[in-house]
């Protein structure tokens, strides 16, 4: 029987890919008139160890599989690690971050990113982490599926329904909530960074992820709100001043985009596969979409492949 995967974000595309890779019959139902998937606004950091600062061990342990998964499926996975720094007066934040995480080394940031030389005395380097461009990765997954004959269509789902619609599934998932995130994309030719850099700050933490051609993604706020709509002036101000603190070259950057999305999240902020009467939900990626969607997708594909073997 065919598997209808609902959604067009990272969860849906990973699920469709994993199911297809197991030889299962798959189609993707693109919801009509849905808001842009939250994953379009993601940082694209594959950083399980950094996320361990606030995420539970499960995310750190399982998320490590994400780097290889992405590298096996799409081009453009950059394995340059993550650098974490803090302004001089907030170095205690760096100590805390080191205590809360593992698989890092103390480094002189300028040795890794010459542009930061002299600006930060110490930093933490997570060498096994990676990053990608979320929009390119999503487009690559889609064309990979399409080139193998998987159809993308609108309309009613059929067969086995795998529901990956994020917050749009809220009517079926009562404990799903939105956590608002705001981000910017800038063009900053004066700044040369090769890997994601996280700037710790007690009130305005931010991360900067390099994209191609001198572009950078600056993110992201975390607000317990399901409000849609544009980036607030406050969020833009906080993110930009954090970026400026990291490197003054960001002051001259051209702002290409301001974006806001709602991260679908369960109360424990851990993604889940849930079985309902007529469908399987894969949802609640929170801020771990690119890290955890492949993990959930592979788990789902294993379950379904086994189920079908037994059914046959």
């Amino acid at each position: 029987m065919i598997h209808s995967v609902l959604g067009e974000g990272v969860t849906a595309l990973c699920c469709a890919t994993a199911l297809f890779d197991r030889g299962l019959d798959v189609e993707v139902i693109v919801p009509d008139g849905a808001p842009e998937p939250a994953s379009r606004f993601a940082g694209g950091m594959l950083a399980p160890f950094c996320e361990g600062e606030s995420a539970p061990d499960l995310i750190v342990a399982k998320g490590q599989a994400a780097v290889n998964w992405w590298a096996a499926h799409v081009p453009g996975v950059v394995r340059q690690g993550t650098l974490v720094v803090a302004p001089p007066r907030d170095v205690s934040e760096l100590e805390r971050f080191a205590r809360a995480t593992r698989e890092h080394d103390w480094v002189s940031p300028g040795d890794l990113e010459p542009d930061l030389a002299g600006r930060f005395a110490r930093g933490l380097f997570f060498s096994s982490e990676a990053h990608l461009d979320p929009r390119q990765a999503l487009a690559s997954l889609r064309s990979r599926l399409e080139s193998r004959g998987v159809s993308f269509r609108t309309g009613a789902p059929r067969g086995w329904i795998v529901d990956c619609r994020g917050l749009a599934s809220r009517e079926d998932l009562a404990d799903l909530r939105g956590v608002r995130g705001e981000m910017l994309i800038v063009h900053a030719p004066d700044v040369a960074l090769t890997r994601p850099v996280r700037l710790l700050h007690p009130r305005f933490p931010c991360y900067i992820v390099p994209r191609e051609n001198g572009r950078y993604m600056i993110g992201a706020t975390m607000v317990e709100s399901a409000r849609r709509g544009g980036v607030t002036a406050r969020a833009a101000m906080e993110l930009l001043s954090a970026a400026y603190t990291l490197h003054p070259g960001f002051a001259e950057a051209e702002i290409l985009e301001l974006g806001a999305g709602l991260r679908p999240s369960f109360p424990d902020n851990i993604p889940a596969i849930r079985h309902a009467a007529d469908r399987i939900h894969v949802n609640g990626m929170y801020r771990h979409g690119f890290l955890m969607a492949p993990v959930c997708a592979e788990q789902l594909a294993t379950e379904l492949a086994e189920l079908h073997v037994h059914a046959d």
Binding site: S54, G178, V223, E224, S225, S265, P267, D268, N269
Partner: protein, 252 residues
């Protein structure tokens, strides 16, 4: 007694910055807190899902006006909070300085006057300044919440002498040390000084193990309060042997 409400636990817990709502609920449970603060300014009306989760804690909610910098903002936020949360309790914060987040005492007194007149039970976040405290009482507040140190700084009781004086000056007013507490020992110290409660957030939310830290704070506050009630011994300049010298063995 806080506006007619007696509390068993003297810990009031903030609800921001936790790894997840689930961890927050577990921390509240472990701490034994019966009052939790909740903000409205940034989340706005669309933060309903998070507030529904907080309702599961069965704690009394103390909405705050965190992030407000003017009388008007604070008053508007307080009115909205009363509607959203269905309580007349409001923790009144009017921030005067973006970097230190210290309260603006002038705007605070003005906002307190407006809100008390509208029937709010106001918990004003203030400094240890006695005159500001008196003006707040005169405006209608029946609780005062002096800071220990700037919000989120974890510096503990930065002006110990000032806080002692404040306790002595307002013997019958419930006083809550709010903000700046970083360690359970600091919270215990506030309780030993005779303060009626401690309000904190970051020290628990940003601990490596928030649930464990919440439990530690709950116990420290209990210990500090019991110590105060039992009567602390005075400090002395000289040693005073705790074992009597009578009955020592005579070693030939």
């Amino acid at each position: 007694m806080f506006y007619g409400v007696d509390l068993t636990s003297r810990l009031m817990l903030g609800t921001a910055q936790y790894p997840s709502p689930q961890v927050l609920l577990e921390a509240i449970e472990a701490s034994g807190a019966e009052v939790i603060t909740v903000s409205l300014r940034r989340e706005g009306a669309a933060g309903g899902a998070f507030r529904d989760l907080l309702a599961k804690s069965r704690c009394r909610l103390l909405p705050n006006t965190a992030g407000c910098h003017t009388v008007r903002e604070a008053v508007t936020t307080a009115r909205m909070a009363r509607e959203v949360f269905g309580t007349s309790w409001i923790k009144l914060e009017v921030i005067g300085h973006a970097d230190t987040l210290q309260p603006d005492p002038f705007a605070l007194v003005e906002a307190a006057r407006v809100l008390c007149a509208e029937g709010f039970d106001v918990f004003p976040y203030t400094t240890e300044d006695l005159i500001v405290g008196e003006k707040l009482l005169e405006a209608g507040c029946k609780v005062l919440m002096p800071w220990g140190a700037p919000i989120g700084s974890g510096q503990g009781l930065r002006n110990l002498a000032g806080l002692r004086t404040m306790r002595a000056h307002f013997p019958d007013v419930p006083l809550v040390v709010d903000a700046g507490i970083g360690a359970p020992s600091q919270a215990a110290q506030a309780m030993e000084l005779g303060f009626d409660a401690v309000l904190l957030n970051t020290a628990v939310a940003k601990a490596i193990d928030p649930v464990g830290m919440a439990r530690a704070f709950g116990r420290a506050i209990q210990a500090g309060r019991e110590g105060h009630q039992a009567g602390l011994m005075p400090e002395r300049d000289m040693a005073s042997a705790s074992t009597p010298v009578f009955g020592l063995a005579e070693l030939a």
